[in-house]
Subunit: 187 residues, 2 copies
C-alpha cells in the first residue's frame, strides 16, 4: 500500500541513446519502493495505439500525442508513467507537458550522435545513411533538444546506475518517491 | 486512501441505448466510495487515440482494441476503467476480456432498436435510414449481443438509479467495491 503520487517520466533522446534501457532499469527500482509504474515503450505503443502511422512529422506528432494522452490518464491516477519514445519535436513535448495533470519530468537522454551512430545497436543509422530509412531522427530529420529538462543524463560517460540515481534524486527532491530512495540506488 | 482493485466496466449496446449516460452516472458514485475511476468515452477516445479511423469493421476493431489496451493499463494499476463505446462485435469484446489483467465486467445496456430509434437523441438513426450514415450499428451494420454479460440493464424500463444499482451490486458481489455500496445507491 502506498500513497502514490503519479507523474510522467518522459525520456527523450536519439535512437540508441539508451532511453528504453534506462527506463527499464529505473522502473523496477521504483516498483521496489512500492510505487505503481508503467513503461510505455515507443515500439509497444506504436503496435497498440498507432499502427498505420508512419514517420512523417504529422504522424510522429500524432503518435507522441497518443502516448501523452495515455501517460496522463495513468499519472493522474497515481501511476508513474514512463515513456521512452524519441519524441524529437520540442513543441509537442511542451504541449504534453502543458496538458499533463500530474508532474511532468522531462529526462533528456543525451548522447552525441557520433556515439550512438557508432554503436548503432539496431543497425538503423547505417540504413538511414544509406537512404533505406527515410526521415530518420538525427540523420535526415531533426532532433530538437530540450531547453529546460528536469534531468539530463549522459549515457556516453555515466554508468546506468549513475544516470538512474540522477532521475531518482530528482523525484525525491519533488516528493515523488519516498525519502532516502536515491541513497538506496547509489548503494 | 483506498486499496483499489482495478477492473474494467465495459458498457456495450446500441447507439442511444444509454451507455454514456449510465457510465457518467455510475462514475461519481464509485468516486464517492473513494475509488479511482476513469471514463473512456467512445467519442473522446476516437478524438485522442483513433483520429483518422472510420467505421469499417476493421477500423472499428482497431478502435475498440485501443480502448481495451488503455483500459487494461488503467485497470491493472487499480483504476476502475469505464468504457462506453458501442463495441458491436462479440469476438473483439471477448478478445479484450481474455487479455484483461484485471476483472472484466461486461455490462449489456439493452434497449430495443425500436426504442432507441424512436428516441434518436442525436438524429443519427434518421441519417442512417436515409443512407447518409453508412455502416450504422443496428441499421446497416450488426450489433452482436453479449451471450454471458456480467450485468444486463434495460434502459427502456428501468430508471437510471435501478440500472446503476445493478452494476454496483455486481461489483460488490465480486469485492470490487466496499460492502454496503449497493445499498447506498438504492438509498
Amino acid at each position: 500500500m502506498s500513497t502514490n503520487k503519479g507523474c510522467i517520466l518522459w525520456f527523450t533522446g536519439l535512437s540508441g541513446a539508451g532511453k528504453s534501457t534506462l527506463a527499464e532499469f529505473v522502473a523496477p527500482l521504483l516498483r521496489d519502493f512500492g510505487l505503481k509504474v508503467e513503461v510505455l515503450d515507443g515500439d509497444e505503443v506504436r503496435e497498440n495505439l498507432s499502427k498505420g502511422l508512419g514517420f512523417s512529422k504529422e504522424d510522429r506528432d500524432t503518435n507522441i500525442r497518443r502516448i501523452g494522452f495515455v501517460a496522463n490518464l495513468l499519472a493522474r491516477n497515481g501511476v508513474i508513467a514512463i515513456t521512452a519514445a524519441i519524441s524529437p519535436y520540442r513543441p509537442i513535448r511542451d504541449e504534453i507537458r502543458s496538458k499533463s495533470q500530474a508532474p511532468f519530468v522531462e529526462i533528456f537522454v543525451n548522447a552525441p550522435l557520433a556515439v550512438v551512430e557508432e554503436r548503432d545497436t539496431k543497425g538503423l543509422y547505417r540504413k538511414a545513411r544509406a537512404g533505406v530509412l527515410k526521415q530518420f531522427t538525427g540523420v535526415s530529420d531533426p532532433y530538437e533538444e530540450p531547453l529546460h529538462p528536469e534531468v539530463t543524463v549522459f549515457t556516453d560517460r555515466e554508468d546506468i546506475e549513475e544516470s538512474a540515481a540522477k532521475v531518482i534524486a530528482y523525484l525525491e527532491s519533488q516528493g515523488l518517491v519516498p525519502k532516502g530512495s536515491a541513497a538506496k540506488v547509489r548503494g
